[in-house]
């Protein structure tokens, strides 16, 4: 049952977005987020909406993946919309006691709601079209310039790689321990929340002990294979920008500039 868990929810494919360099995609997402919050009128927001739909279509990812993402944040969206609607001061349209909806409030609510939904959908394209490994590589290379000011770029990437490597192993182990405990009468399924949480303790203790032992042995094995940090280390697959990335980069810069210009309308 635990084997069904997938991390990073990568969806293999060969769309334009799948083939982009992970660094381009990370920067593009950042530029997109900035643009989304720069635009302050409906022309700009409309343009971002059309653009986002275009990106979704280019990614060739089934729409249900986006609906699933939006479903997960539906509560936050509703809360934000409600807060904006009732709390923004301005010209009142409707009033009931202390509750009042203003014209500015509705405007703000529409803006924030749309922004949130677009934000979640487009950022999920990043993880849906990029394998966890190349995402890690991308983050490492992008953070490298900040190494001088103390950002542990290589160490962060190494930690992420090892975490990704051991997630399936630890899930398998949890499954095994659970079965072993169930065979001896442990009950993980019934009882109230407190009881179920308590039943997890005999599961977590061996799991943690084993994980620490694994970490110890892995460190030894890495040292035996000449691992001595990121200095002087090369990679089998070096990231390389292609013509695609130039196209995407120019496009993203245009988007950011365009978003800025819509403010002048």
């Amino acid at each position: 049952m635990l084997k069904d868990i997938t991390i990073g929810q990568y969806l293999s494919g060969d769309s334009f977005l799948h083939k982009l360099d992970p660094r381009t995609k990370i920067i593009a997402v950042i530029l997109y987020m900035v643009s989304l919050f720069i635009v302050n009128n409906f022309w700009g927001l409309g343009a971002m909406l059309v653009l986002s739909l275009a990106v979704v279509l280019i990614s060739r990812i089934p729409l249900r993946f986006f609906f699933r993402g939006i479903k997960a944040i539906v509560f936050i969206v509703l809360l934000t919309v409600a807060l904006q609607m009732f709390m923004t001061p301005g010209e009142p349209l409707w009033e009931l006691g202390i509750l009042k909806i203003t014209k500015e409030g509705i405007r703000q609510a529409v803006f924030m709601g749309t922004r949130l939904i677009l934000l979640v959908s487009v950022t999920s394209i990043l993880t849906l079209t990029t394998t966890p490994i190349s995402l890690t590589d991308g983050i490492e290379t992008l953070l490298k310039p900040f190494q001088k000011i103390g950002v542990p770029a290589h160490e962060l990437a190494m930690m992420m790689t090892i975490a990704l490597r051991f997630i399936p192993t630890l899930i398998e182990e949890t499954d095994k321990i659970m079965k072993a405990q169930s065979a001896r009468g442990a009950d993980f399924e019934s009882g109230n929340l407190m009881e179920r949480a308590k039943a997890m303790i005999p599961l977590l203790v061996p799991l943690f002990l084993n994980a620490i032992k694994r970490a110890d042995e892995l460190a030894l094995a890495m040292e035996a294979r000449c691992y001595h940090g990121g200095d002087g280390r090369t990679r089998l697959k070096a990231l390389q920008y292609g013509r695609r990335d130039a196209v995407a980069g120019v496009f993203c810069l245009c988007m950011a500039a365009g978003a800025f210009l819509t403010r002048l309308l």
Partner: protein, 275 residues
């Protein structure tokens, strides 16, 4: 040649603060191209000895020299670790990367090699252990024997002269054990890599050129498998098993002097009894 010269290693036990002598004045020369098996009980010091060969541990007294380079010499640490590869017991806890080929590339990457050269070495190493078809797979999708072969490929990619196997088959099923032993022997015979196999399986020790038996941090017996396994009484005294065929040969030899006592394999026994 690896020269272990009067090595003593002391451990401080965390719980009791007592000093424990894990290795007690051990001397051993490992020749190039040799296949040597180190036998012994749990806690006899065989794993401690193994970790001295590539400077994961340093001797408290005495010296270990790899091709005349002292392992205590910190400047040569990475050269020594490249020359002496090490395969560990738990196949899961020595694979670092999320795909087989990235994992095999880990060693060469640490050595700072060019991507094209890494690619070539990875492909060669995977072909050598017969795992090329799995290069894009995640390690968690492989069997124990396959994982251990990937770990061996990861070592081969660094082109070591010596490979230390620290109980590589202890956690494997019979199929996995056979896969690993076949790979080990092929590397020794065809690639000329010196193999040091730390084990407690007698069937594996029989395959070696030389067997070293350890007890309480000392080397107590050393010689060819035939020399060592004919000392049935002594081995039993140390509570070590004797390969069943060797034990049978010893028993038969006691009754019938014309039957040779140094028979190690079933085939040899068959020719001995029905010539």
């Amino acid at each position: 040649m690896i020269r272990i010269h009067h090595v003593t290693h002391m451990f401080k036990k965390e719980s009791t603060k007592h000093e424990v002598k894990a290795l007690d004045d051990v001397s051993l020369d490992i020749l190039e191209g040799e296949h040597i098996a180190v036998l012994g009980h749990n806690g006899c010091g065989k794993s401690t000895l193994a970790k001295h060969l590539n400077a994961l541990l340093l001797p408290t007294a005495g010296t270990v020299e790899v091709d005349a380079v002292d392992t205590a010499n910190e400047a040569d640490l990475w050269t020594i670790r490249q020359m002496v590869g090490m395969v560990f017991q738990n196949p899961d806890n020595q694979l670092v990367a999320t795909t087989v080929e990235e994992d095999v590339a880990f060693g060469p990457e640490n050595m700072g090699m060019e991507p094209a050269q890494i690619r070539q070495r990875v492909d060669e190493a995977l072909a050598l252990v017969g795992m090329s078809a799995f290069k894009d797979k995640g390690p968690h999708l492989l069997s124990g024997g396959q994982k251990q072969r990937v770990a061996i490929a990861g070592i081969i990619a660094m082109r070591p002269k010596y490979i230390v196997f620290d109980e590589p088959t202890a956690m494997l099923d019979p199929t996995g054990r056979r896969e690993v032993m076949e790979t080990m022997q092929r590397l020794n015979r065809e690639e000329g890599i010196t193999v040091i196999n730390i084990t407690h399986f007698m069937e594996e020790a029989v395959l070696a050129d030389r067997v070293v038996v350890m007890e309480r941090g000392r080397i107590v017996l050393s010689g060819t498998p035939k020399e060592v396994f004919t000392k049935v009484d002594l081995l039993k005294q140390m509570q070590l098993d004797v390969p069943p065929v060797a034990e049978l040969a010893a028993l038969l030899h006691k009754e019938q002097k014309q039957i040779a006592a140094d028979i190690m394999t079933i085939e040899e026994m068959v020719t001995e009894l029905c010539p």
